[in-house]
């Protein structure tokens, strides 16, 4: 055997020849075949794979849509409607892309919730988590710019409101806004650059997703018990166990997706976006897409414009430092009797903000938003740091395998460590 070649186990001689020179088959086998994965995942662990599939769907549909789309203020709206009417299955492409964005956020929000509940952000997975937050931010930017492209009323006015937020920055604010717009108002240069960036960003996301997965395969996955696998008895090879389990989740995901696309394709959109953009007519209420509403509510909860902008960005930026704000060594909320209700309250505050963000900025929604926003930050900045010191966590199980062998699942975990029986 020539020196410098990888020693491949692949039986097929042609594939072996390739694998010896470029060991991608060995790599795939290692990372997705035999990759040791905790044996006790629940279905929340589907959502990473679902997000990956969703990203690919968005890229695939988006590439075909862009072949028919015209990024010009006078033609964008009609070109989108032409896709709906005259392009073969254009309606399916567009509705899948538009609702795919909503699905992406549902999936990613669930994925983030999984991380929050089972402490997936804690050592040694801090960087993995932070890369995830980067993906989330890139997703938001991509979704925002994508919503501008059909050039309807909400596209135009949403773009105007959101880009104008930057004008709140002292000194440089107005210049930044002009720079973003490529002119003195949201107009054709804005649409053009948004189209360009909207096409670029998904590939940047793809790159960061690669890093996210690479980091994951160094630390290995967290699991519902939040304790480290202690040996082969605690893990299963990724294939066929988790490929089979992910397939179940994937079909369920496609079912929800299909119901949206085929039966309620416009339920999550705003009717005003079927009115062509008109800079002279402001809609009575400018509302962003539903997945931005919690952050929009935080923005509006603060009476000062700059303060609101800062709080809105802080509400996501705070996730970057979450691994250090949470001082408890215990990962899974199953063993944190005090933190658990506080986290569920945080979830409620998130949904309350989502609800209030869609309401007009008047009472009682403003006060409710303020209370919810205050709790949103309080949880991260005060409750979590304090609880790490005050809380007495329940005893952790010895290993993943033992409770699982006795029956598996959260309740079974209690079978071997009495005090957490009623967790």
């Amino acid at each position: 055997m020539a020196s410098g070649l990888h020693k491949s186990d692949v039986a097929n001689p042609v594939l072996n020849w390739i694998d010896a020179r470029l060991p991608v088959i060995t790599m795939m086998q290692k990372e997705y075949g035999t990759f040791p994965t905790p044996r006790n995942f629940n279905y929340f662990w589907n959502f990473g794979a679902l997000a990956m599939v969703n990203l690919l769907i968005m890229i695939a549909t988006g590439i075909f849509l862009s072949m028919h789309y015209t990024a010009h203020t006078s033609m964008a709206f009609d070109s989108v409607e032409r896709i709906m009417r005259d392009v073969n299955y254009g309606w399916l492409l567009r509705y899948a892309h538009a609702n795919g964005a909503s699905m992406f956020f549902i999936v990613v929000y669930t994925h983030i919730w999984r991380g929050l509940y089972y402490g997936s952000y804690k050592a040694p997975r801090e960087l993995l988590w932070m890369l995830g937050v980067v993906i989330f931010l890139l997703m938001m930017a991509t979704a925002f710019m994508g919503y501008v492209l059909p050039w309807g009323q909400m596209s135009f006015w949403g773009a105007t409101v959101i880009t104008n937020l930057f004008s709140a920055l002292p000194l440089i604010g107005p210049d930044i806004v002009t720079f973003l717009w490529g002119g003195f108002s949201v107009d054709n240069p804005t649409l053009n650059r948004f189209f360009s960036l909207h096409y670029l960003m998904p590939f940047v996301i793809f790159g960061v997703v690669f890093l996210h997965v690479a980091a994951l395969h160094i630390t290995g996955s967290n699991n519902p018990l939040g304790i480290d696998p202690k040996g082969p008895q605690d893990t299963l090879p990724f294939h066929p166990y988790y490929t089979a389990k992910d397939s179940v989740g994937l079909v369920a995901y496609f079912a929800v997706f299909a119901i949206l696309v085929f039966f309620f394709p416009n339920a999550l959109g705003h009717p005003d976006n079927y009115i062509p953009a008109n800079p002279l007519v402001t809609p009575p209420h400018i509302v962003p897409e539903w997945y931005f509403l919690p952050f929009y509510a935080i923005l509006r909860a603060v009476p000062d414009k700059l303060g609101g902008v800062i709080m809105m960005f802080a509400s996501i930026a705070i996730l970057f430092v979450l691994p250090w704000l949470d001082t408890s060594p215990v990962r899974s909320m199953r063993f944190r009797p005090l933190a658990r209700p506080f986290l569920f309250t945080w979830l409620v505050s998130f949904f309350v903000l989502l609800y209030c963000g869609g309401k007009p900025p008047e009472e009682p929604y403003v006060t409710i938003s303020r209370v919810a926003a205050a709790y949103y930050f309080l949880y991260f900045l005060v409750i979590l740091p304090l609880l790490g010191r005050l809380e007495r966590p329940l005893p952790l199980p010895e290993s993943i395998a033992r409770p699982v062998l006795r029956g598996g699942g959260p309740v079974m975990a209690g079978a071997m460590s009495k005090p957490m029986e009623k967790a």
């Binding site: 409607e81 166990y241 397939s247 085929f262």
Partner: protein, 263 residues
């Protein structure tokens, strides 16, 4: 234990659906602006198996052509699209030929008028927005191509609006040239009641052209115009959901089989 697993799977799936549902609840929040409730109308295109009533949509096109099109454009539609409503090629040609459209420039550099062809877009009643406003007391009649998608309530809104004209209640003074409509935001609408008397349009298929009938027909037509893919979309959707149900069952069976030695 199995029970637990399926329970958890179920709760997750339910969570997904609830998430989507919540989003739906949260977004039409802006519907609350007007907090308008439109009378419920049962259309043939509602529901999972919805389809267009082609006879009704054809009559609706006649209403559009004879009444609405005097002020409202539908610039996203072509005459050829009418064949989807069951009109023959010859009928579509004949309909198009009754309309004069501008073409050109010809070899002499002149614009000229010619009868429309099926490939032409519906002719707009006004040359531009200014002309439309000038002819309508300053108001702009919106393009109707996607009107049912562009209004909260869709076809029900169109139905309610067209049926919603009445005398202003005591104490309400209308601005000059405005009409009272109980379903229009602000209740003052520049459009005078377009379908006001029985027999305004003469149907050729023997249907009695009551106001309600004409309104229903034109709502049907406008919905088809806005969502011509609706029938294909819904029938494909039913097949997709059935397919995914079977596939989901298979995937779950495979998963159970694969995991049998672990549990």
């Amino acid at each position: 234990m199995r029970v637990f697993h399926s329970l958890r799977a179920f709760s997750l799936a339910a969570g997904l659906v609830a998430g989507a549902g919540l989003a739906t609840v949260a977004t039409p929040a802006r519907a609350a602006e007007g907090a308008m409730h439109y009378p419920e109308v049962r259309f043939s295109f509602d529901g999972l198996f919805g389809h267009f009533d082609r006879a009704s949509a054809q009559r609706g096109f006649q209403v559009y052509k004879e009444v609405c099109s005097n002020c409202h454009s539908m610039h996203l539609l072509s005459y050829r699209n009418l064949s989807e409503l069951g009109l023959s090629d010859a009928e579509v040609r004949a309909i198009a030929a009754t309309v004069q459209v501008q073409d050109g420039p010809n070899d002499e550099g002149q614009m000229f008028e010619r009868p429309a062809r099926p490939s032409d877009r519906f002719r707009s009643p006004f040359a531009n927005e200014k002309a439309a406003r000038a002819a309508n007391n300053g108001a702009l009649p919106p393009d109707l191509s996607v009107i049912t998608k562009a209004r909260e309530g869709g076809a029900e809104y169109i139905h309610a609006l067209l049926m919603g004209y009445e005398d202003p209640p005591a104490g309400v003074t209308l601005m000059p040239g405005m009409n009272y409509n109980k379903y229009f935001a602000g209740h003052q609408i520049a459009m005078a009641q377009p379908l006001s008397s029985e027999g305004q349009v003469e149907y050729t298929d023997g249907t009695k052209p009551t106001v309600e009938q004409m309104v229903e027909d034109v709502s049907q037509f406008l919905t088809w115009a806005a969502e011509p893919e609706l029938e294909q979309r819904k029938s494909l959707g039913v097949k997709m959901v059935l397919f995914l149900t079977v596939l989901g069952g298979l995937a779950y069976a495979v998963k159970r089989k694969v995991w049998a030695d672990v549990h």
